[in-house]
């Protein structure tokens, strides 16, 4: 009888985990809609006149940051695999590596802003197509910050030794979100490249 009750309760817990992961998917759809709105805003604005448009080449720094974020996705995936195989030391190491790469990405993006503004492509600009570059990258960085919080939470969970079910679940969500942020950046980068 008790086993039976536990069995049904486990099933309810599993359903709840599945639902929470689904929440993340929905959240990512919401976030994507925000960037879709910015993209369509950019297109409508830029079509408004010949004097509009990015009118500059994107800094090379973006190439490096793209490489960095792809690499961080790889380390994140490896950390997730390590967590599933209960290789906890490896998991911690790879998580820390992902975090460092994440901060590196952040720093390069900010450096790229410096490059842009030294060319006169500043945020406060009467050609708002150029302001849009900052909005896209800035909003993405805000999401990267959220991603870093999620990573730290997974790391803290590992260090404080939450049970393995929660550990793998946290890692699963963190990996999914981190990959999403990488793909989102690639979308933004390609979108801007096509319009530069």
């Amino acid at each position: 009888m008790i086993a039976m009750v536990q069995y049904t309760q486990n099933k309810e817990d599993l359903a709840q985990q599945k639902a929470k992961k689904f929440n993340l998917w929905l959240g990512m759809i919401g976030m994507f809609m925000m960037f879709a709105a910015l993209s369509s805003g950019f297109i409508v604005y830029t079509a408004g006149g010949v004097d509009k448009g990015i009118k500059t080449l994107l800094p090379h720094a973006f190439i490096y940051s793209t490489l960095l974020i792809i690499l961080s996705s790889v380390t994140m995936q490896l950390a997730y695999i390590a967590a599933k195989k209960t290789q906890f030391a490896r998991q911690k190491l790879l998580l820390v590596a992902t975090l460092i790469l994440g901060f590196g990405f952040f720093a390069i993006q900010v450096y790229a802003w410096g490059v842009l503004s030294s060319r006169g492509v500043v945020f406060v600009n009467n050609n708002a197509s150029q302001s849009f570059i900052y909005v896209f990258t800035g909003m993405h960085l805000a999401h990267i910050l959220a991603g870093i919080i999620v990573l730290v939470r997974a790391l803290v969970g590992r260090i404080s030794g939450v049970n393995q079910v929660s550990n793998v679940f946290r890692m699963d969500l963190a990996a999914l979100f981190w990959h999403f942020l990488g793909i989102l950046w690639i979308y933004i980068y390609v979108f801007l490249l096509l319009n530069q």
């Binding site: 929440n23 929905l26 976030m31 960037f35 709105a37 409508v44 945020f123 009467n126 708002a128």
Partner: protein, 630 residues
């Protein structure tokens, strides 16, 4: 091995005996993660905001009816800054209409309606212990609460609340120097709205995820009550459209506070040329209405869902055209995203594009008409019980039709040139979106009050409330159609000062008196709502003879909703007055094997085994008289 053990302990502390959790006052009533408590929090906050916004509307109605008269009492309450000499000043008038619209659309009819009933009914009607993420659900309420506080706090700042209309079009909203309301008040408005959107997205993802993942055994999508379908599609619309408003608002914030030029161009204020160049205010309108139009369906669809349920229950008849009801909701959901341009016909839009938006807009009449006819067909020859909830549901159908019809006029790009920004539009959306949705919400409150508070509301006060509100709403909004056709513009402070509109003073007085009386009618509701919590008749478990799952839970709320196992669902929720059954309702939890005398061939969805058993039973129990006639 350790894996399994840890999973077990986890589930044990998680569900350690439903019902006797150690809860302090704070975790039970304030930072509650229980969907039932969160629903009540949303409802009561929504009611407070509704009363606040209603008082604002009475204030600006006073100004419209008696533009030359002074009301010293106003100066007493509002101070000499906003009501000098007892007359509402023009800037405050604009703030009143702006905040009235904002609160009613977002805080009452979006959060108050969806927040309350999605939270209450999704776990209850689907047979779930709680939402997918109770923590996110709690966050959703507290972001909403913070948004309310910030919005109301804008009345207490020096420069007054936002005044650029609830649509906050730039450049008026983007240039702090333009009007006093575009100063700090506008900043607070934007802050509040960002928190509000976070709240909606958190709540909405939870609703969708719970509906798709946490239905009890047997509850397939086509056995869900229409309420759930409506909440589901509403949440999808919200999830896809609210983030767009975030983008629009973020760009507006940059324009306001950082000096960018997304929306601003060629502006001269008080003889000074602003530095902003090259922006496009129309861009804001596109982004705003990409949310703004779906938003009106976010407001309306939960009302459609609630009333479908209540009308079917109280007609003691299955809902007419269940599948058609669902598909029409789906149709409205899809169409709601491709009609936003009909708000912008007069912005210099390409007439061809205007034509496209006009056609998509008019197509919405099809699913809307399907719903209206299905409501009427459900009522037709039903065994109707006129409970207060039922009256409000029928009232919703009435407003949905009378307000929806004028949508054909304002949705027409040629006619809209005349009607745009007149009282005709005000009449249209107050009937079809405002009154219809608030009636849906009140219908839900009366119907599910026993579930929320374990007691019944007083019926007599309910009837009084219904008739005052129903007649009042028509008296207020119906005359506005004629004003609009005559060209009276909305949002004007004292339009009756213009000679050609002078004649509307008498109508304005009539409308204001109607509004005051309907407003006083709400006291009947408030009294009823708050005293019944304590002194109402104790509710039975299933007071309305309903089929849905929430009425199988105990009257006293427990954590996890059902003691013991969650019930299994065997049938759709609308088996009312089924021929051959001894009662006029069969709850969803009753298997077909217990209702052999009323089963119909299509109940078995082509399951040959079940059909065979049913045939054998029918042969064995063939009524005797039939044999004699052979």
């Amino acid at each position: 091995m350790s894996n399994i053990a840890s999973a077990d302990t986890h589930s044990l502390d998680h569900h350690d005996g439903h019902g006797h959790h150690h809860e302090s006052f704070w975790t039970k009533y304030v930072f509650s993660q229980d969907h039932k408590m969160i629903a009540k929090q949303f409802l009561i906050t929504g009611i407070i905001m509704a009363v606040f916004a209603m008082v604002l509307s009475i204030l600006f109605r006073l100004q419209l009816a008696w533009p030359d008269k002074s009301f010293p009492i106003l100066e007493l309450f509002l101070g000499s800054k906003w009501a000098e000499g007892g007359r509402i000043n023009p800037e405050f008038f604009l703030a009143l209409v702006t905040i009235h619209g904002t609160i009613m659309v977002f805080f009452v009819l979006t959060a108050g309606l969806s927040g309350t009933f999605s939270n209450l009914l999704i776990p209850y009607q689907l047979g779930a212990r709680d939402m997918a993420s109770p923590f996110m659900n709690m966050l959703s309420y507290w972001f909403f609460f913070a948004a309310c506080v910030v919005m109301i706090s804008s009345f207490f700042v020096e420069s007054g609340p936002a005044s650029a209309g609830w649509t906050i079009y730039p450049p008026l909203s983007a240039v702090p120097k333009a009007i006093s309301g575009s100063g700090l008040g506008m900043t607070l408005w934007l802050t509040s709205m960002v928190m509000f959107i976070i709240s909606q997205v958190l709540g909405g993802t939870n609703y969708i995820s719970t509906i798709l993942n946490m239905r009890t055994k047997g509850m397939d999508l086509w056995k869900m009550p229409l309420t759930i379908w409506a909440f589901f599609l509403t949440a999808i619309v919200g999830l896809l459209s609210f983030p767009v408003l975030v983008s629009a608002v973020v760009l507006l914030i940059f324009d306001r506070s950082f000096g960018t030029s997304f929306y601003l161009s060629d502006l001269v204020i008080q003889g000074q040329i602003l530095p902003n160049e090259g922006g496009s205010p129309i861009l804001f309108q596109h982004l705003f209405w990409f949310l703004g139009h779906p938003e009106v369906y976010i407001v309306l669809m939960p009302a459609l869902g609630l009333t479908s349920e209540v009308i079917s229950t109280n007609s003691r008849k299955p809902i007419f055209g269940y599948h058609a009801m669902v598909y029409s909701l789906v149709g409205i959901t899809v169409l709601s995203f491709i009609v936003w341009g009909h708000h912008m016909f007069v912005t210099g839009m390409n007439p061809f594009l205007g034509g496209v938006f006009m056609i998509t807009t008019l197509i919405i009449a099809v699913p809307s008409a399907v719903k209206s006819f299905n409501y009427l067909a459900t009522l037709w020859r039903g065994n109707i019980r006129f409970t207060p909830a039922m009256l409000f549901a029928i009232g919703m159908v009435s407003f949905f039709i009378s307000g929806g019809l004028t949508g054909l006029y304002v949705g027409n790009s040629a006619l809209d040139i005349n009607l745009h920004d007149t009282y005709f539009v005000v009449a249209h959306f107050h009937l079809v979106m405002g009154s219809a949705s608030i009636f849906g919400m009140l219908c839900g409150v009366y119907h599910w009050y026993p579930k929320m508070f374990g007691r019944m509301m007083d019926e007599k006060l309910g009837y009084l409330h219904f008739w005052l509100t129903f007649v009042g709403a028509y008296f207020v909004f119906f005359p506005m159609h004629f004003m609009g056709i005559d060209g009276v513009p909305r949002r004007y402070y004292a339009f009756t000062e213009f000679p050609f509109m002078e004649k509307w003073v008498s109508v304005n007085i009539f409308i204001t008196w109607s509004a005051i009386i309907a407003g006083l009618g709400q006291l009947a509701f408030l009294w009823n709502f708050f005293t019944s919590m304590r002194f109402g008749k104790v509710a039975p478990q299933n007071p309305w003879g309903s089929n849905t799952l929430e009425w199988t839970t105990p009257v006293k709320h427990i954590h996890g909703n059902w003691p013991g196992e969650i019930p299994t669902v065997y049938r759709w929720p609308y088996d009312y007055s089924k021929p051959g059954h001894d009662e006029d309702f069969i709850p969803q939890t009753v298997p077909f094997s217990e209702t052999m005398s009323s089963n119909l061939p299509h109940d078995f969805e082509g399951n040959p085994e079940a059909e065979r058993i049913q045939r054998e039973w029918e042969l064995a129990n063939k009524p005797l008289p039939e044999k004699e006639t052979e």
